[in-house]
Structure formats: C-alpha cells, structure tokens
Amino acid sequence: MIHLYYFAQIKELTQKKEETILWADGTVAELVKWADETYPGFTDYSWQVAVNEEYVLETEQINPGDTVAFIPPVSGG
C-alpha cells in the first residue's frame, strides 16, 4: 500500500484529498499511468511528484509504505 495526496486543481479533478492504494512496486511513471486511467484527464494537468516529501523524477522507484504527492505548480507567497 502507498498513500497518495492530491492538491489544488488535481484535488478538484480526483474529487479527493488523499487515498491509500495497493502497491507492490513500480516507478513514479507507472503510478502516473495508474492515475491517468483512474482519473481521466490527469496527465492534462501540470504537476511534480514528491515521494516522502521530496521532489523526485518519474524514474524514481516507489515502495510500499511510501507517501506520494502530486504537486501542481506552486503559488505560495
């Protein structure tokens, strides 16, 4: 299992803030594929991925127990 977070416009697309999903192993790219199948239009949005609160590349491995967040373009300040 991994825990996912959605924010801002992504949260409005998925209609949820967070969820836990089953996960054996795979890369960020594979999770993105899953997200795009589950939430049509997901890859039309712009976002970065953070695993365990660190920005990562799509080639990064995701392990069970990890926390993954989809980070739309930030606009703090």
Partner: protein, 142 residues
C-alpha cells in the same frame, strides 16, 4: 534556532521580528506578502490558500538552512498562512536578521523567490464571477 511554520492563524509580525533579534543583530528585514484587491484590473474578493503542510514546513526549513550556509550569521523565521484570507491580510512573513543590513535584504528576497518556486502551497483567487487556482512557477528536478 530558526522558526518555520504553516498555519491557519493570523500572522503577527512581532512574533517573527522578535524571534530573529538577538544581541549580535544590527539589521532585521521583514517581508509581508499581502492579499491585493486588484490584479490586472480584476477584483479579488478573497483568497484560499492550501498547503501540503509537512512538506511545506520541511522545505521552508531547507530554505532557511540554505540561507545560513550562503550568509553565515543570519537568523530566519518564515510563516505562511493557509485557509481563507481577506483583502489586506498577510499571507506570508519572512524575517531575516543579520549583523549588517545588506545581507538582511538580500537573504530576505532570496527566501521569497525560493518560496514561490519550491514550497508546496497553492492559492485560489475568488472573484465575483468565478475562481481559479493560480499556477506559478514550476520546480523541475534535473
């Protein structure tokens, strides 16, 4: 030593000014990011800020550590508010102290630039006729 927080509470400048002041400080700069009513001729009613709080606080801490590496002798406090903010309320406060003034200005401006690029916080503008998440700069890891 430093103070970094993301909070739904009203931000009080004195808290951060006092936090960075000590006997070796000669200069303190404070930046306050304020909710503006008019942007490009469009009237904002209020803003909604959302954050990925633990990561945002972690990244603020990293920005602080980065500043202290670049400019030794500084002390930094940063706070970002979340939730609903009215016009003229403060969204972000950055306080930087230093023995001398030039560094206090430079490090403060560096902090806000980094926040706007890196920290997972989002702003939704609510107008009379709609609303929109504001997409700022995007961080691209190499």
């Amino acid at each position: 030593m430093n103070l970094f927080e993301v909070t739904p509470e009203v931000l009080c400048p004195n808290r951060y000014l006092q936090y960075v002041t000590h006997a070796e400080v000669g200069a303190v700069t404070l930046f306050s990011g304020i909710v503006r009513e008019w942007t490009n001729g469009k009237r904002t009613l209020f803003l909604e800020y959302e954050a990925y709080v633990p990561m945002a606080e972690k990244m603020l801490t990293e920005i602080g550590a980065d500043i202290q590496r670049k400019w030794p002798g500084t002390r930094i406090a940063i706070a970002h508010r979340i939730g609903k903010l009215q016009i003229s309320e403060t969204a972000v406060i950055i306080a930087v102290s230093s023995p001398h003034r030039q560094i206090a200005y430079e490090a403060n401006e560096f902090a806000i630039e980094q926040i706007k690029k890196l920290v997972p916080i989002w702003k939704k503008e609510i107008w009379e006729d709609g609303e929109k998440w504001v997409g700022g700069q995007t961080y691209k890891p190499l």
